[in-house]
Symmetry: C2
Subunit: 217 residues, 2 copies
Amino acid sequence: MKVVPDPENQDATRNQLLEAAGEVFAEVGFRNATVRAICQRAGANIAAINYHFGDKETLYIEVLRYAHGKALEKHPLLLDVPETAAPEKKLRAFIHSLLLRVFEKGSHSWHGRLMSREMIEPTVALDALIEERIRPTHTALATIISEILKRPASDDCVILCVSSVFSQCVFYNHCRPAVVKLFPKLVPHDAASIENLAAHITKFSLAAMKDFSANIK
Amino acid sequence: MKVVPDPENQDATRNQLLEAAGEVFAEVGFRNATVRAICQRAGANIAAINYHFGDKETLYIEVLRYAHGKALEKHPLLLDVPETAAPEKKLRAFIHSLLLRVFEKGSHSWHGRLMSREMIEPTVALDALIEERIRPTHTALATIISEILKRPASDDCVILCVSSVFSQCVFYNHCRPAVVKLFPKLVPHDAASIENLAAHITKFSLAAMKDFSANIK
DNA sequence: TGACAATTAAAACAATTGTTTGAATTATGT
DNA sequence: ACATAATTCAAACAATTGTTTTAATTGTCA
């Protein structure tokens, strides 16, 4: 029987495989990633993936789930903002948190790229990713914007503004190579510049929506 | 010696390879695309790619160049707007043209996806793509926004707004699977709905920037 | 027509892929 | 300490990859 003596070192190779696979998948994509490269980076044997996960595809699905949990655990949807705060403050916190995930520098900087790849080259893991991760994020943003525009969250106008705000944040995830090449100084490099970018997107969007709620009859 | 009797049917297989390769590369990416699948779709022999292009990578570079030319030929940067028009009208025309390329339905609908892939998984073709295609596009947009904000095109504020506008358009290129799944009715399906989306992005951005130019000292 | 270049065709090549196998090793419970 | 389950390991497997080769076919000009 399996006993659980030390949950820390439990399944050590399994966790190392998840970490290594996350990096490799983010670097070269699912199909281009070789199990040999992953196992080598994890310091494991070639057969380790099939033993612990069954096959390469199951490993990929588990990696997405793993990265998902780690990312939201580190940067919750809203940072330090009470539920009763003004929607404008919530919007700023939401944008800031999303940008922190986009520009994550730590050992899990690969999880953003992993999501971008899943958009461009969907796999069987996409549906779960959308339902478990992206939809809750959009719902949270839609709630905030619904308050700002004073219209129901299902309103076309709210949905369009959600996309407008969201797109400005994930833009740096999907077009990083171009942004780095065209506007190097636009790419945040530390916490302060991430906050600056969050300030711009917040200001830009609030100004746009202020005009919206004023002009719409 | 090679003679050129009929420039239409000249290099027929070569063109068929370019078209077929464009579709396949857009569908599954460079590494996942097999020369067998491309040649089969082009109705050519397995060895045709190596004969006409040398190798698979050269074919890919040629495909990007080919798609680039076709796309801008069909949808110029500015649609039916004179050089002397108001910058607000130019902005609307620019956004509309960009969205037309993003939602292109014709036989070259794959070229947008090809660009998205190049961002996520850069190849040797990326630098040329940025310099020959993306930089001119951004420069055109920066000129328009520079007029609207009445600030030099090199101003940080202008650059940030260029990104804000641009991101709202290409968002539908990079996150199509999620948008289709989360807000199906948001995805334009004909010329009229593309124009509606262009109207929203234009209105959203103009409202934001109007506030910008008013508040910045 | 006949010689020669251009193109197409089928087959085979070497390299790499994910996966499986079966033995060796380690850890665990009594 | 022993028996048993869990895990690791090296080797090999079958399938697929881009490319090359060599012959057949087509087209072109003298």
